[in-house]
């Protein structure tokens, strides 16, 4: 005589719970697949359309004279490089200083306010920033620069976009720096500013670089702030930041409207270059962040 075997099969309420669980997990997996799939489709379709235009000339030559074939986007590549480098030179020091102030010196009330305003700035419509900079330094003379479109004006607009990104990420890493490190420093009689400069900043440099890289990737793809500030361009490569240059996003914008199919192809190719740049910089940022996390974990 043995007891009837206990069935492990779910019944009744537990059966329903099991289904709900599976449905939820399935839905989550599907959503993740859609996100990854979207990215794959996006990159794939851009590459498919860009492929024919990705020639050596495309990277080394200026745009063809009207009605002629060939040509490339070399001035736009140089222009975007200049724009983001100068924008980073403006945004990074200010952004890092804000982060240091907020996480090391400010009291809780002030730092909460600053965080809020940075988030507002982060969500600010980029076209408004473009118009603001236009009114400030393109339409009027400002500190001796301006009264016409220039790399400085475009970079200033991009810097405003980069600023909250740089300082928010920097705040995050600064808060990861263990309290013990600072305390050890104070215990040795080191002053506060010296601690920040020699202990806190070097420890979090990886995170700061990450924030900067992500901000650069974001700024490189911005079109709206440049339309009013840096969109008049010649046909040659230009390294002078006091005049306006071609840039990749503005080139995509104008070429995509062209009736010339060759230029449409170049717009796709330029889009691919931009995507590749964003992917590479994001990956680089990720690796840097991982390294700095590991290092902080060791402490």
């Amino acid at each position: 005589m043995s007891a009837p075997p206990i069935s492990l099969k779910a019944t009744g309420r537990s059966r329903r719970r099991l289904f709900a669980d599976r449905a939820a997990v399935g839905g989550a997996i599907l959503a993740a697949l859609i996100a990854v799939g979207m990215l794959a489709i996006l990159v794939g379709s851009v590459l498919a359309r860009a492929f024919h235009s990705l020639t050596w000339d495309f990277f080394t030559k200026g745009p063809a004279v009207f009605g002629q074939t060939g040509g490339g986007i070399a001035p736009a590549l140089v222009g975007t490089l200049l724009l983001v480098l100068i924008a980073a030179a403006m945004a990074v020091p200010v952004g890092v200083l804000i982060a240091i102030f907020v996480s090391e010196f400010a009291n809780r009330k002030v730092s909460a306010q600053i965080r809020l305003w940075l988030d507002v700035l982060n969500g600010f419509p980029s076209i408004v920033i473009g118009i603001f900079v236009f009114a400030l330094i393109v339409k009027t003379k400002f500190l001796g620069i301006g009264h016409h479109q220039s790399v400085y004006a475009g970079s200033f607009a991009l810097a405003i976009i980069m600023l909250p990104l740089v300082s928010r990420t920097t705040m995050e890493v600064l808060s990861l720096v263990p309290r013990e490190l600072r305390e050890a420093s104070y215990a040795l009689g080191v002053s506060k500013w010296r601690t920040v400069l020699s202990v806190v900043l070097p420890t979090s440099i990886g995170g700061i670089v990450t924030g900067t890289t992500l901000a650069v990737a974001r700024a490189a793809g911005e079109t709206a702030p440049l339309l009013f500030t840096c969109s008049i361009a010649g046909q040659l490569i230009n390294w002078d930041p006091s005049i306006s240059v071609a840039s990749i996003p503005v080139t995509i914008f104008t070429y995509s409207e062209s009736p010339d199919t060759a230029l449409n192809g170049q717009a796709w190719a330029a889009a691919f270059v931009l995507i590749a740049f964003v992917l590479l910089t994001s990956m680089f940022a990720r690796i840097m962040l991982e390294r700095s996390r590991r290092k902080l974990g060791r402490v």
Partner: protein
């Protein structure tokens, strides 16, 4: 790790520094301009030539004539360009500007009618100002309309809805086109009138010369009005238009020049109209326009601007620059007036 980061930062600042040095070495004059997309192809051909002649860098942005006038009014550029003459209000707002006719071309009417077969012996599709006005007013809506058939006897025209395409924004080409329509159609003149932008009763809008050309290229049944160079470069066929003498003429250089030859004197202010020229010019193309460069009378780049425009008015009119884009050389009487006006541009 830290070493790597610092060397990366050092490399970045070195790159920035070299940018600054390269910038400092920059000694050529840069002239920024904005405006008409009509003249943009010609400016893009002139740019390398001006670069080698004077070491000038021309940076031109085709934002449309209206935006070009706005840009020179705000002095955010060194010169503006417009196909529409500036109104007296615009002159007042601009505060010391002159307009100088510096190029001349026809506004073509390209169309996209798949399956169109012309009668034997007819080489181009025919349209009249009256029919074009009715198409843009929405009263002629199909290509097989009897009014169009009457202009193209013996042609096989498919039944296809017409999509008239117009320029959005303030456009000098729109000014030229509506100037023509107002001159040939009293209904157009009273109901819609002329301007850089008008209230279009029918059709689809597109931005810039490139935009309208693109829409016509990709839309069966579409037609638009655009600088002939764009139609040629994009392999679009365009109509021959009936002029006052009753002839159907293409916007060829010779026919545009014939229209421009009707200018006997240039008024102060240089405003010129050559649409719908009189019967006495039997080969004149009826939708041609002078296009203007707008210069401030006081500019820190005055000398370079004068040299550039003088070059454009003289050497720039040579066939090697203009012929492929179907721009006609500007007539002597206009050239003299332009050069005289150019003297008003002085250094600050």
């Amino acid at each position: 790790m830290r070493k790597f980061v610092f060397s990366a930062l050092a490399a970045a600042s070195l790159a920035l520094l070299s940018v600054g040095v390269a910038g400092a070495k920059h000694s050529t004059v840069v002239l920024n301009g904005a405006g008409s997309t009509f003249v943009q192809p010609l400016v893009s051909v002139w740019t390398p030539a001006l670069g080698s002649a004077f070491d000038y860098t021309i940076q031109y942005s085709g934002v449309g004539s209206g935006a070009g006038i706005a840009a020179i009014t705000a002095r955010t550029v060194d010169f503006g360009a417009s196909d529409a003459p500036m109104s007296s209000d615009q002159f007042t707002a601009c505060g010391g500007c002159v307009q100088i006719p510096w190029a001349l071309a026809g506004t073509s009417i390209p169309y996209n009618i798949p399956g169109l077969q012309l009668a034997k012996g007819q080489t181009t599709f025919h349209l009249s100002g009256d029919v074009i006005a009715k198409i843009y007013m929405g009263t002629i809506t199909n290509w097989n309309d009897p009014a169009i058939a009457a202009l193209n006897k013996g042609a096989t025209i498919p039944s296809l809805t017409i999509t008239p395409v117009y320029r959005t924004g303030n456009s000098g080409t729109t000014y030229n086109f509506t100037d023509f329509l107002s001159s040939v159609s009293s209904a157009w003149k009273t109901q819609i009138g002329q301007g850089q932008s008008v209230n279009w009763p029918a059709g689809t809008g597109a931005s810039g010369s490139s935009g309208v050309t693109g829409v016509v290229k990709n839309t069966p049944g579409a037609l638009c009005y655009v600088d002939t160079g764009y139609a040629i470069a994009n392999h679009l066929t365009f109509a021959s238009i009936q002029n006052a003498a009753g002839n159907f003429v293409s916007p060829s250089i010779r026919n545009v020049a014939a229209a421009a030859a009707t200018v006997k004197s240039v008024p102060t202010g240089n405003e010129l109209h050559i649409v719908n020229p009189p019967k006495s010019a039997p080969t004149a193309y009826p939708i041609a326009t002078f296009t203007y460069i707008i210069l401030p009378t006081h500019s820190s780049n005055a000398q370079a601007l004068r040299k550039m425009v003088f070059w454009a008015l003289t050497q720039g009119q040579a066939k090697k620059y203009t012929a492929a884009l179907w721009f006609a050389p500007i007539p002597k009487v206009v050239l003299v007036a332009s050069e005289k006006t150019l003297q008003q541009v002085a250094s600050t």
